[in-house]
Each structure stands twice: as structure tokens, then as C-alpha cells.
Amino acid sequence: MRYLPHSDADRQAMLAAIGVGSIDDLFADIPKDLRVHGLDLPRAAGEMSVERTLGRLSARNVAASSVPFFVGAGAYKHHVPATVDHLIQRSEFLTSYTPYQPEITQGTLQVLFEFQTQIAHLTGMEVANASMYDGSTATVEAVLMAHRLTKRKKAVLSGGLHPQYRAVVESLSPMAGDTVEALPADPDATEDILASIDAETSCVVVQSPSVYGHLIDLAPIAAKAHEVGALLIAVFTEVVSLGLIEPPGAQGADIVVGEGQSIGNALSFGGPYVGLFATRQKFVRQMPGRLCGETVDAEGRRGFVLTLSTREQHIRRDKATSNICTNSGLCALAFTIHMTLLGQTGLARLARINHANAVKLAESLSALPGVTLLNDSFFNEFTIRLPGNAADIVERLVAKGVLAGVPASRLEPGKAELADLLIVASTEVNSDDDRAAFVAALSEVLA
């Protein structure tokens, strides 16, 4: 087996050095009747064989790059520079351990420090952590953090929050003894969330752009929340939007969480992604996840360490702020490198291209008979009402080689009022030809 270095001679010599007669002697603690002798699985396979097996599975999927592609709703197809994927595969990043030994992990640590700085600047917040699993788990951690900070137990979730994010909060938060008030789906951005905020409220969770693409003015919500002593948790799933829209920090958010996949990371059928988490300096000791901080070494040179670990489970055990142990280090690295390449100039331009592409597409699609655009404002994603079941229409567009978007019913099944809604994203990867193909195909399907 190519991954196992020992020759049989090596094994024999080692057993002799240990002083046992056979490998079975080393497993003597496992009760005899429970020992397994052979699994019902195939035997070892060479590289060619594995490549064929997995290549066959890969070939049964339609790759985003191979078709006009407009699927979003929480994960986005963007172009990642070759430099990013090359660098994250460097042995010293890819196969390095969590930087608990800072003397020999300054590379990873400095990257995390750069990452935290980038996220803080992007979101307009004071501090950011070294990443979370993804946007949805970051959201529930933010809710739990708000409960700790406010000592209240009720979270109010906007109807514009991604339904799967909502489900994550609704699954965990009640088990922790809390209450979740989730407003109904809000495809038109007409909800009155202010009315749900009261003195019991620990936090209000609002996504902007919403899952339906609407940009939400957070300032009045923050004002109302602060008025009653609650916190505003701002959520985003498309980090590129921050290149063009006012950051949540400037709109009064107390905690900002989001998905960072768009920058540096592949779609990968949903994971691994990278959760972003930022807040105000005064809340930092209730923050979940790893933090990297600057310090000096014994010679006075600047260096970086994981810090404030007294919040963490390996020190505090059942008193920890979260049970989180790993983060998304490598995805955060990809994010940091891609963002470094972009810089503010590149990010702003990238965001403008995304927005322009989405605007052009929204105009073309809503010009089709029977198609209505629901959004006044949006960034690179919007919702249209189709003259018919959106899921069916999407399937018919698949046959025409266009992946058209996410039917709202995929996220909110069984709600008749959402059945004809389609959430459509357009990024820099869509060419004019792609958009034309979509419009033509939809036009044919609706004809």
C-alpha cells in the first residue's frame, strides 16, 4: 500500500524491538469476540483505479463552468485566480497543524491576523475572529453570543434570512433553552420586523442582501434594537456585495456574520466554506472561535499567537463560549490571498461587474411576458415571479443546458405562495452569451 512505508521486514524488526510476537498482541485489549476480521469493502486500489471511480461520479454532475450558470442563494460561482489555489496547496499551509506552537507557525498566524483585519475592514467592525465553519453556523453562534451578552433568550429572525440558516438557528437555539421567533418568508421585502422587537428580545437577525436579493436598510432596525437593549446581528451570504454596499458596521450592527465562500473558495457542493464573524471590541470576550493576536517574542520581535483562549473549550471545558475547536483555516487562507490580490480597487470593480451583470439580466428577464422582478434594490441576485411552477421551469431549462437559479420552493418547500418564485444570481463569470442563452431558453420554455 503506497501510503504505508513499512516493508514486512521493517514490521518484523519493530515487533521484535517492542518484544511481542505478533501484531495481534498489540490489540489484546480489544475483547476477542469483538475483533473484526475483514470488512465487507473492496480491497486497495491504485491511483488509476481511484481516478476512474471518482471521475465517473464527477462526470455525472454538471459543472458550473460548463454551462450558463445562475445559481446562488447562499453560494456563488466566482472566478478564483490560479495563484490562490496554488498557494493553498503548498505543503506548509495545507499540511500544517493548528498553530498552537506559535514559534513554528508564524506563517499561518500572520495570515489569520491579516484575515481578521480584512474582515474587520470589510464589515466595518472593530474585531473579527479567525473564521467559523460557514455562514449558517456563524449565525447560530452569533445568536448564542447575543444571548450571553444580553442575558435574554429570544431571537427574532427576519423573513429575508436564508431558510437553511434559519433552520440551523431553530435547531440548536431551542435546545440551548432559547426562543426563536422567525418571521414568515419575505420575498417582497415588506416585513415590519420592528414590530417584533421588544424588551425580551436578545437579538434581531437580518440578512442583507436578503435571500431574495433585497438590500435591507439596517440602520432603523439597529436603532430599534438598541432602544430596547437588543443587538442587531447582520448576516450576508455574498461577501462580494460588501465591495459596493454600505458595510453593516456603518449601519449599526453589533455582530456581523456571513459566508466568505465567494472569495477564494470553490462551490464544492456546499462545503467547505468559510464563516466570517465580526463584532465590536467590547464584546470580544464573548466571541466564539479562534482569535489571533499580536505580541512579541523573547527577543522583542513582533509575532502572532492564538489568544483569548480562556474562552475556548480546551481550557474552559463546559464553561466555554462555544464548543468550536477547528475553524476553516485553509478556506480563510484562500479568502485572504484572493482578497489581497483584489485589494479595494479590485474588489470594488468586481462588485460593480457583478452588479452590472445582474442588472442587465434582471432587465432582460423581466422584459419577458409573464415574468416579474420582485426587487427594487439588489446586488448580484434577485427574485422573479414566473408564470408557472419555478421548479418545473428550472428543470426544463436544465434540458436546454442552462442552470437558471434556485426555485424558492427548494428552500421553502410546501409554501404555495412561493412556488412560482425563482432566485437568480449573476456574477462576473457570466458572459453576454450566457445571459442571452438564459433569456432565449426561458423565452422558449414560457412560449
Binding site: 500500500m1 504505508l4 475483514g38 498557494l87
Partner: protein
């Protein structure tokens, strides 16, 4: 060689990505167009490449040396797996594409599940947890849901002293009260101690097996039986599953739920601290509570069940752990690893892991001290600091001195039940030659410590990119992001 922060060398108008400005259009941002500057400098591509290459060169990695990290399992990361994760139909597929366009992805998840269930002898699997601790949470949430489904209110979780910190943290997170089970002298759990704590309020025990002292819990079956008899559940921390793959099935040991760290057992890369993946296998008693999404087999056809609207009778998921379907990028790497090893290779890997740990034990047993005497261990060997007594060298000093010898330190001060613990897991990836060199180096260090060569230890590391760092200072006044130097500081720096 020092490397500046990107904020110190980047310039606001430099970018390493060439994009054409879009043609004139009418924005639809309403009043929310950005007013604030973004304040992120950029680097050109060559500067970016060099910046991160040079940073990487300050890191230790499995590709450059042995990581004797007990309980953390740093093994070889095959590049085939990286290649497979980048196949266009794997890496470039959206989680919400029409299901008709992702048949291969769903089949891949089903296949991964099949392997995991066969290896563990369990009934169902929740693939979506994003990491080991997330898997623990998933397993414990399933237990909580099962208890609630029975109309019970059990609220105590038993956790042995030697457990990972995530165990009590997880239990506490969802409102359980944690009660510690004392360890026996050798670090294993005494079934009698468990029985003494059992009551109708006990919801579960969380046990690591093999445990964090590197020993297989010999009485695991008896413990499981007692737990079950008390109406509680047996959660097994799967961090050490890599020692027993192909040697024992946890389902047959009485486990009800166990997470599997794909990055430990199946070698998805650590990446400097993630991403991980923590699928959870469940016994028949918990199978129905597996969260969304899950794979339902309909004959030979796997079906991805994403929502409650799609449930069939008997399927009672407790909810959802994360958006989308979990860490596909890690699934494919783990499956690639499994396919490569096969049933024979997986068993051989467990055997070699245990062989290597015992070989290290045999090479050091005369010079270092083992808390439970010189007995056979599983895939990791535990030493305590008795052998350093009177030398003036601490476990920390000893570990830092290893850095100067070109090694990453072993796991230190864990498990907590052992004084000055040093937990060494070489993994099956290390050759005999590599272990011989490692043993020789440690023997030399031990003798230097015993000889009182204090400077070598207290001053260590001396040959690393940094000397020991001031962690107290970092925590006391946290500096968590780069701040532009104040003008006066700039002026001072310029002098």
C-alpha cells in the same frame, strides 16, 4: 527573514486581478451604495505570491517533518485526494443545482456513508457536521431529541476526566449538566464508577475509545450495557477511531453515536486549523433522529432528503446542523483515501499506527516515565513528567526543545489526568527510519535534561522563526487587527 504585513506593503490603487470596468449601467443599490472607503490595500500577483510563499516558509508541516501529536493525528495527506477534490464535477458544483444535475455527488455521499457504516457497524450516518466538535454537537442533539421524543427530561451527561474539552463544552452548550467520571490510575474508566453515577436523570455518557491515554477501554461493553440499562445513551468521541478501523466495530461495542474526524482518520488535510468534517454514525436507537439533509437509499438509488416536506414515516430528524449538505470537499478526499486503502489497507493502517506507537514506547521506556507502567498502548503512547523530576525542565521546556531538533512538539499537558503529560502519536505514515531518528533525538534530549543542561531547554526554541512568544501580553491587551501607525509613531519609526 522578516515578512511585513500586507497592510504595510500594499497600496490602495494596486490590484493583482485584471477586470474590465463594466459598461455604463443604472445601479440598483438604492440608498445603500457604499459611502465608507473599504480600506484594503492590494498587492500585484508577484508580490502576493512572494508574500504568502515566504509566510508559508515559517510553518512546520507534515510534509516536512513528523508531528507526534497525540489525539490530533497528523498523517500523510495524499495529493491524489486534492486532485480528486478539484474534479470539475466535484469542486465546481453548486449545492442548490437541480438534483437532476448532481447525481454523482449524491452517489458519492451515499458511498461515503456506506463505507463509514460498514467500518463502524452502525445504522445511519449524518454527513453534514462541519468538524469533529460539530459532530459531537450533532450526536448530542440527536440524543437530546431522542430523549424528548420519549417524553423524558434527563439532563445529566457523564464525562470522564480524561475527555477532550469539546465533550463537556458540547454537552453544556445544549443545556446538559456535566458530571465528571473519575479515572482509574491508568486513565481508563471504571464501570463501577459509572454505575455509581447512573440515575434516571442521566442522558448519556461521552467516552473516548481508545481513550486519550492511548488505551483501549477494556470494559467498554460493560459500561455500554450499564448505560443502556439506565435508559441513557452512549456517545463515543471518535477522535481515536483511527486506531481500530478494521479491528473493532463501535456498533458492536454498544455505541449509540460517534463522530468521525475525517481529517484524523481519513487524512483530509488539517490546513493550519481546518476545515474539518465530522460525520456522525448513529445506532438503531438514534438513527431516526439524524438531521437534514440525509441520504435515503431507495433500492440502489440514493436520494438526498433536504427538507421536512420530503420525509417518510419514521424519519424524525431533529433539524439541521448547517446550510447545504456538509463538507463535500472533505467527503471526496476521505473517500479517495478509503478507496485507495481498501479494506485490507485500512486494517493495515490501524495496525501500523499501533505498531509505530509501541515502537516509540519501546524506544523510550527506559528513559521516560509512563503513568500506568510499561504496557501495550494503542496508536499513541503517554508519558508523564516524572522522569524530569528534579531536572528543572518542564514538559513545556522539553517540548520547546524538540523544535530546535527539527520536530513539532508532542501534545502536552493533555490528558489532564496525568501530570505534565506528553502524548505521542506517530501515525502509520512514519517509516522505521523516521521513528529511529525521532527516538534517538528524544533520548538525547532526555539525557541532556537529566544532565541539567538547562539553557538548552529554558531558552528553547532558538532555531525557529521566533523565540517563545509573550502570550500573556497578547491576552491582556488584545491586538487583533492591524492598525495604521499613528503619525507620531510613523515619525518615530522614520528616525
Amino acid at each position: 527573514i522578516e515578512e511585513a504585513l500586507l497592510f504595510e506593503v500594499g497600496r490602495d490603487d494596486v490590484t493583482g486581478v485584471d477586470l474590465d470596468e463594466p459598461a455604463e449601467f443604472t445601479p440598483r443599490l438604492g440608498k445603500l451604495a457604499r459611502q465608507q472607503p473599504i480600506d484594503l490595500p492590494g498587492l500585484s500577483e508577484p508580490e502576493t505570491m512572494r508574500h504568502y510563499v515566504r509566510l508559508s516558509q515559517k510553518n512546520y508541516s507534515i510534509d516536512s517533518g513528523l508531528y507526534p501529536l497525540g489525539s490530533c493525528t497528523m498523517k500523510h495527506n495524499p495529493r491524489l485526494n486534492e486532485k480528486m477534490a478539484r474534479l470539475p464535477g466535484i469542486g465546481d458544483v453548486h449545492p442548490l443545482q437541480p438534483l437532476s444535475t448532481v447525481g454523482g455527488a449524491v452517489e458519492l455521499m451515499a458511498e461515503l456513508g456506506r463505507w463509514l457504516l460498514e467500518m463502524t457497524g452502525m445504522t445511519s450516518v449524518a454527513l453534514s457536521p462541519k468538524a469533529g466538535a460539530h459532530g459531537e454537537l450533532c450526536g448530542m442533539m440527536a440524543i437530546k431529541a431522542a430523549i424528548a421524543a420519549k417524553g423524558e427530561t434527563r439532563n445529566i451527561v457523564l464525562v470522564p476526566e480524561s475527555a477532550h474539552g469539546t465533550n463537556p463544552a458540547t454537552a453544556a452548550l445544549i443545556g446538559f449538566k456535566v458530571v465528571t467520571v473519575p479515572a482509574r490510575a491508568d486513565g481508563t474508566v471504571d464501570p463501577e464508577a459509572v454505575k455509581a453515577l447512573l440515575s434516571p436523570d442521566v442522558a448519556a455518557i461521552m467516552l473516548t475509545n481508545p481513550n486519550t491515554c492511548g488505551l483501549f477501554e477494556r470494559d467498554v461493553v460493560e459500561i455500554a450495557a450499564a448505560i443502556h440499562a439506565a435508559g441513557a445513551y452512549f456517545y463515543c468521541d471518535g477522535a481515536n477511531f483511527n486506531a481500530i478501523v478494521g479491528k473493532a466495530k463501535v456498533g458492536e461495542l454498544g455505541v449509540d453515536a460517534m463522530h468521525i474526524n475525517l481529517h484524523k482518520t481519513f487524512s483530509t488535510p488539517h490546513g493550519g486549523g481546518g476545515p474539518g468534517a465530522g460525520p456522525v454514525v448513529l445506532s438503531e436507537r438514534l438513527a431516526a433522529f439524524a438531521p437534514l439533509p440525509f441520504i435515503r437509499m431507495e433500492g440502489n438509488d440514493p436520494v438526498l432528503v433536504e427538507s421536512e416536506a420530503a420525509l417518510k414515516p419514521g424519519e424524525t430528524p431533529f433539524g439541521r446542523m448547517t446550510a447545504f449538505h456538509g463538507q463535500m470537499g472533505m467527503f471526496v478526499r476521505a473517500l479517495s483515501y478509503m478507496l485507495s486503502h481498501g479494506s485490507d489497507g485500512l486494517q493495515q493502517a490501524s495496525e501500523d499506527a499501533v505498531l509505530n506507537a509501541n515502537y516509540v514506547r519501546a524506544g523510550l521506556r527506559d528513559l521516560m516515565s509512563q503513568p500506568s507502567g510499561d504496557r501495550t498502548c494503542m496508536h499513541e503512547v503517554l508519558f508523564d513528567d516524572t522522569f524530569l523530576e528534579g531536572s528543572g525542565v518542564s514538559t513545556l521546556d522539553f517540548a520547546k526543545a524538540m523544535i530546535d531538533e527539527g520536530y513539532h512538539p508532542m501534545t502536552m499537558y493533555f490528558p489532564l489526568v496525568v501530570h505534565g503529560a506528553m502524548l505521542i502519536e506517530p501515525t502509520e505514515s512514519e517509516s522505521k527510519a523516521s521513528l529511529d531518528l525521532f527516538i534517538a533525538t528524544l533520548r538525547d534530549l532526555v539525557m541532556k535534561a537529566k544532565a541539567g543542561d538547562l539553557e538548552r531547554f529554558e531558552q528553547a526554541p532558538r532555531y525557529a522563526p521566533r523565540r517563545r512568544l509573550d502570550e500573556t501580553r497578547a491576552a491582556r491587551s488584545p491586538k487583533l487587527k492591524w492598525e495604521k501607525p499613528e503619525p507620531w509613531a510613523e515619525a518615530a519609526a522614520a528616525e
